[in-house]
């Protein structure tokens, strides 16, 4: 598929290749920043409404400027580096984590005519690059010179590494059905209505019906692992404030803490976007060719991703935190076998259709 470079070609005609590359690279960043504001606002409001409260109301109409105010508050705060901390690593860690999240955004196809980088092994790239977050977390936790940070970092790493396996199984399952790792291709295969989405067995006609339970279970498995990989409740043991103050970002303040915050929300978007691409048709419209122009595709992609972000927020305010051993039990003894069974079924489906 060459048309994902449409925007790049369009811009480079006027500006030249280098500037066009820079401009294209800025688009995901702008998207991430705007999305983070929306997600923070959504998190605050949904949390409040679930608890029958009003949420932020003072900053602007209905508190709409609250995330902006929070960002400014974080920017104004003093940037503290603890005395015993390992300064170079301590200062580097937030940026490494943010880098992982930002790099993952670079391969998401927002529309059939635009992906920042049309990598044809996009899914594999996303699995690989998300391991950067692990390194950043270890780096921050170790460099803080704080017991709680270190324990939080270790919990986080063991959790993320464990949950990467079922997640990779889910992605592999879909990849074996799609015969591709290119996210744009996978999205394009699911065009023609929600019946063709991979969560409902993919574009294979009526005979795929036996596959539907497996793909649905696979989607649920992936959703659970995505919660764990972004350290969201109910799997936020690495930053459980009743046990570890704030986990690996205990010692961070100001701008660097803002980066952690941004990376957390950015990772939520990334896993939701992966979910959208591999199970819910990516940018393709749920109603066949209806509203399926490239501009509308951007809308569909972001709407679907935001739906899953909302689902994550909703779950966060529903469930209590799991215990560490329950977390590992869930991963190794439930999600992994389930995902393997489903992977076998989906691989069979991939061979048949």
């Amino acid at each position: 598929m060459e048309n994902h470079q449409f925007l790049f070609n369009f811009i480079s005609e006027y500006t030249g290749d280098i500037l066009a590359g820079v401009l294209i690279a800025i688009i995901p960043l702008a998207l991430l920043l705007v999305y983070a504001l929306v997600a923070i606002y959504g998190e605050l409001k949904i949390a409040s409404f679930i608890q029958l409260k009003l949420g932020p109301m003072r900053t602007g109409k209905w508190g709409l400027l609250q995330p902006v105010a929070e960002v400014f508050k974080l920017l104004q705060k003093e940037d503290i580096t603890p005395d015993g901390a390992d300064k170079p690593l301590f200062n580097l860690a937030p940026f490494i984590i943010f880098l992982g999240c930002y790099a993952a955004l670079s391969v998401l196809p927002l529309s059939s005519h635009f992906a920042p980088s049309g990598l044809n092994i996009g899914l594999f790239f996303i699995i690989a690059i998300s391991s950067l977050a692990v390194l950043g977390i270890v780096m921050g936790g170790w460099a803080s010179n704080n017991k709680y940070s270190l324990i939080g970092a270790m919990r986080s790493v063991s959790q993320i590494i464990s949950y990467e396996i079922p997640a990779a199984m889910c992605i592999l399952g879909v990849a074996s059905m799609a015969h591709s790792l290119d996210m744009n291709v996978i999205s394009a295969q699911q065009q023609g209505g929600f019946w063709n989405w991979y969560v409902l067995g993919g574009p294979a006609g009526i005979s795929k019906i036996w596959l539907i339970p497996f793909t649905v279970v696979m989607f649920i498995v992936y959703f659970v692992t995505s919660l764990a990989e972004t350290n969201r409740t109910p799997f936020d043991v690495p930053e459980g404030e009743s046990e570890l103050v704030a986990g690996y970002h205990t010692e961070y303040s100001g701008m660097k803490f803002a980066f952690f915050y941004l990376a957390e929300y950015g990772n939520m978007f990334v896993v939701s976007a992966i979910m959208t691409v591999i199970f819910f048709g990516g940018w393709s419209s749920p109603f066949g060719d209806f509203l399926n122009s490239p501009i509308w595709q951007i809308f569909w992609f972001i709407a679907k991703s935001m739906f899953f972000v909302g689902l994550q927020i909703w779950l966060r305010w529903t469930l209590p935190r799991t215990r560490v051993d329950q977390l590992m039990y869930l991963c190794w003894k439930i999600l992994l076998p389930l995902s393997m069974v489903c992977f076998l079924a989906m691989a069979l489906g991939g061979m048949l259709y």
Partner: protein, 189 residues
């Protein structure tokens, strides 16, 4: 100097600088984290050579797997036991040995490099992706190697599980005091 050369030298700079840091840093954690940049730079090189699958595999396996393992090991040994792990002076004899080995390796490599016949084949068409070709050759030409590697990994996995499990058994056997026997009885009941 075109864009590719700029990117190449950028990556080269990153690799050399961080590689130097890996060797020279006295703090093992710093060395381990500097290794990350080296590995990333290598991945960048692979990507520049149009082998995208290899580049991502480099990140996946080395950065996401091996480096995390190294860091975990270093972190657990130095922070939790309270022993500062640092590379100290090794002595002049070792310096001499090291220098000699480095010179030999450098000479050998440069000899190889100048004397070997490099296959320079013009690329008629830049392949869309190397992944299809890799997949086909892995499952046709190199299927035996592939399967052997898979079996090896499986053995390693089972062995790791066995080691982890055996520790537990030895522990309960070694502490054969009253409490553990009571526990055993309870379990039997």
């Amino acid at each position: 100097m075109n864009l590719e050369a700029v990117i190449f030298y950028l990556f080269a700079l990153i690799i050399v600088a961080s590689g130097g840091l890996v060797v020279l840093s006295k703090n093992i954690m710093h060395a381990a984290f500097a290794l990350m940049f080296t590995l990333f730079g290598l991945a960048g090189f692979y990507a520049m050579l149009l082998s995208d699958f290899l580049a991502v595999s480099q990140i996946m396996i080395y950065v996401g797997g091996i480096l995390v393992l190294i860091i975990f090991g270093v972190m657990l040994t130095s922070k939790i036991t309270g022993v500062e792990l640092k590379t100290g002076p090794i002595g002049k004899v070792n310096y001499l040995f090291g220098a000699a080995i480095s010179v030999i390796i450098a000479c050998g490599l440069s000899l190889l490099f100048t004397n070997s016949k490099w296959i320079e084949k013009p690329v008629d068409k830049i392949p869309d992706s190397s992944i299809n070709a890799i997949g086909y050759s892995l499952l046709t030409e190199y299927i035996l190697v592939f399967e052997v590697a898979a079996v090896l990994l499986l053995i390693a996995l089972i062995g790791a599980a066995l080691i982890a499990h055996k520790d537990q058994i030895i522990d309960s056997d070694a502490s054969s005091n009253e409490i553990s026997t009571n526990n055993d009885i309870k379990i039997k009941e």
